[in-house]
């Protein structure tokens, strides 16, 4: 086989970090290979892709050196964040941008654009506003504009990390169709749909060292424990987790009414965006709010928090919510992007923030903050800036800081979105421990496994309406299905 991309004795260091990310790493990729790079977050997988494509050091200034680097001649790169890889407003213009860059004559562009959209299965009017596409469609557009460069090598840098399950499936289907004859190098944390596509797996550890490199199935079965400990979503991970946890749901059936809604409506401008005919939420319930993208799930949470205008009956603890002056003392709200709700310069102060606003006693604040720091596994990071935390830590901090005033109703907007398996389970367990003590959880989620294993009830939202309100059967621990 012909080598198509390689590095020899690569050394690389991020500015300001004490240690090298890679020390004398050597690796070679061959023509036509489909390779999956696995490793814990922060081990340098994406960085390696950027070196192999030449983006480091050409576009990103990171100190590196290597004895030899072989870059592929024709390559394309798909990034993680669907909202920050486009520079043009419309689908056709974005693909045209790539065609312009390589000097394709204007007369050929229209046809090329249409062909590319067809190749990735994006059947929309070429002149569609990118803003209106779903995440999965955006990533397929990213693939189309990369294919415009006619690459031999495709670098896929966690293309589905910020995409829901449905979109993830579509993206990998597309990749499988278009990349049969290409070399594909993939970094991914959710490998359900990737395993049957790749023929080689390279496993890195948190020191940026290769610990395994070989035939996909062999590496996967030999190193399953390592892969599991790295928080990767592999097939069967839920079953194994549930089996290990010897899960028993303590039934906390309490009568206490937390929320009662009747003819409840939430508005944006003049339009009714969400309506609930009637619903009651009791202490100790875990309600999973599900439904399609844009159905109004987040809007429901916003309405409950009164971030938008509402009318109809809305009672909290049996009292009319209009009489509750400070809603945020009864309801804890966690946004999808934790950074937007951070207000302090250190993890410790972040948790203390609401308590200080409430003018609690210093001793009480110190005691509460310490307890939460330990419970949420943030003790070591207490003096760091919240922005400098890892994804999982940020998420835990945002929950800790929101519930610090002792609220017993949690509103959570996809709190496990984009998290690896380890952090997802850690967060769910924390929430479950609060629920067992009588807290109520209302959580928007796309993940059927969470609904099945953690929720006690499911609300289905369709076209801005609560259309289904059903209990999840209190099933006994699931027999672990033998994994792949």
């Amino acid at each position: 086989m012909k080598p198509i991309a390689s590095v020899e004795r690569l050394r690389l260091k991020f500015p300001g970090k004490d240690t090298l990310l890679f020390k004398d790493l050597s690796i070679t990729f061959y023509e036509g290979e489909k390779v999956l790079l696995l490793g814990p977050s922060g081990c340098g997988k994406s960085t390696l892709l950027q070196v192999l494509s030449g983006l480091i050091p050409h576009s990103i200034d990171v100190p590196m050196k290597a004895e030899r680097v072989q870059l592929p001649d024709h390559w394309g790169y798909v990034f993680q964040d669907p909202d920050s890889q486009f520079c043009m407003p419309f689908v056709d213009e974005e693909i045209a941008f790539a065609l312009e860059n390589i000097g394709v004559p204007r007369e050929q562009m229209k046809e090329r654009i249409e062909n590319l959209l067809e190749a990735v299965g994006l059947f929309v009017d070429p002149h569609t506003d990118i803003h209106t596409l779903s995440g999965g469609m955006k990533q397929r557009l990213a693939l189309a504009s990369v294919l415009a460069l006619e690459p031999d090598v495709l670098f896929l840098d966690e293309p589905t990390a910020m995409i829901d399950e449905e979109g993830t499936k579509e993206i990998w289907q597309t990749v499988k169709q278009i990349a049969r004859d290409k070399t594909v190098i993939i970094v991914e944390h959710k490998i359900d749909h990737v395993l049957d596509f790749v023929d080689r797996i390279i496993l890195l550890n948190d020191q940026g060292k290769i610990i395994a490199d070989g035939q996909a199935q062999t590496v996967f079965s030999h190193y399953k424990d390592v892969i599991a400990s790295q928080g990767i979503w592999y097939p069967g991970v839920w079953d194994e987790y549930m089996a290990k946890r010897q899960y028993r749901r303590s039934v906390v059936q309490q009568e206490e009414k937390m929320i009662h809604l009747r003819q409840f409506r939430g508005y944006r401008l003049r339009d009714v965006k969400i309506r609930v005919e009637e619903a009651t939420v009791r202490a100790g319930e875990w309600i999973a709010i599900t439904g399609k993208n844009g159905a109004g799930k987040s809007t429901l949470l916003h309405a409950l928090m009164k971030l938008i205008r509402t009318d109809g009956t809305y009672e909290l603890y049996g009292e009319d919510s209009k009489r509750v002056k400070q809603l945020h003392r009864l309801l804890a709200f966690v946004f999808q992007n934790p950074e937007f709700q951070f207000v302090a310069n250190s993890v410790r102060e972040e948790i203390a923030y609401s308590l200080r606003l409430e003018k609690r006693k210093e001793a009480e604040i110190a005691e509460t903050v310490e307890r939460l720091l330990r419970r949420f596994h943030l003790w070591e990071q207490q003096n760091q800036h919240p922005y400098q935390l890892s994804m999982g830590q940020k998420r835990r901090l945002s929950v800790a800081a929101s519930i610090v005033s002792g609220q017993r109703i949690f509103l959570l907007d996809e709190p496990t979105f984009g998290q690896d398996a380890k952090n997802t389970f850690a967060l769910l367990e924390l929430l479950e421990s609060y629920r067992e003590q009588g807290a109520t959880i209302l959580m928007v989620t796309h993940d059927e496994n969470i609904v099945k294993h953690f929720a006690t009830r499911r609300w289905v939202i369709e076209d801005g309406r609560l259309v289904k309100d059903e209990p999840i059967s209190q099933h006994s621990p699931q027999a672990a299905v033998p994994s792949v």
Binding site: E93, Q326, S354, S402
Partner: protein, 260 residues
């Protein structure tokens, strides 16, 4: 900005954006040197007519766009009217001293602000940013790295406004900020700016990953040239200016030729 409003495309939409920008900037500078209120009033009326007939938006929205400009008119005019110097006193109360001269000067300033606003609206309501920057690259040789960066920035505006809302909600949920205006502004600015910095870095890398470079010979998806609408544009503005000037000098509303 993307107003999700249906509008009709008029000949003004089909003029060359660079030319349109140049003409309007020229008029902007020209207005700075008009000191005769009669000419200025006529000119503003002419622009108003173009605004109503040829931006292609429904009347309801034209009115809506226009409303804030009225406030600007009042606020621009007021401090000159109340505090300007002059000889013919109309009214005096403490520090407030309204004179005929200051009143006229104030009104003149109001009309000036109005005509600037109309020049701006005439441009922004009839020009897609994408066409403007393609035209700037093709006609005025703007470097692509600047043009596409601007376009990427424009694309992010709706996202940023959404994020601005989110930050506002998040602060509400956290119980608000209670230590002063500057602290509050920081609370807004830090998440928005840091998100923007990261996004900008990623977009830049993604653009270069798609082989964007200023050194490449590039082609253009939109070829933007000149047509008969461009002649129309120049003629219309010459006529408006000439009529405003002629009528203002020969048929004045107010017997004042210079407000200075």
């Amino acid at each position: 900005m993307k107003w999700n409003i249906h509008y009709r495309e008029t000949w003004l939409h089909h003029t060359n954006p660079s030319l349109k920008l140049m003409v309007l900037l020229l008029l902007f500078i020209g207005v700075l040197f008009v000191h005769n209120p009669n000419v200025l009033i006529n000119f503003s009326l002419g622009l108003l007519l173009l605004f109503m007939l040829y931006t292609g938006y429904p009347w309801k929205f034209l009115l809506l766009f226009f409303l804030p400009f009225f406030l600007v008119f009042v606020s621009t005019a007021s401090s000159m009217i109340l505090f300007g110097e002059g000889k013919t006193t109309w009214f005096r109360w403490g520090l407030i001293h309204v004179t005929e001269e200051s009143f006229l000067r104030g009104m003149h300033l109001g009309f000036r602000a109005l005509s600037f606003a109309l020049l701006g609206l005439l441009f922004s309501l009839t020009t897609r940013p994408v066409c403007l920057f393609y035209s700037l690259m093709q006609q005025l040789k703007l470097k692509p790295k600047y043009a596409y960066s601007f376009l990427a920035g424009v694309r992010l505006i709706p996202m940023m406004i959404e994020e601005f809302q989110t930050v506002r909600n998040a602060l509400k949920v956290r119980g608000g900020v209670n230590n002063g205006l500057f602290e509050k502004m920081k609370r807004y600015a830090i998440p928005l700016l840091s998100q923007s910095i990261r996004r900008a870095q990623r977009i830049a890398v993604a653009m270069e990953a798609k082989r964007f470079s200023d050194d490449n010979e590039r082609t253009f998806y939109y070829e933007i040239g000149f047509g008969k609408n461009d002649i129309m544009l120049v003629v219309v503005f010459i006529v408006v200016t000439a009529v405003a000037y002629y009528a203002g000098v020969h048929y004045p509303y107010i017997p004042v030729e210079d407000v200075r």
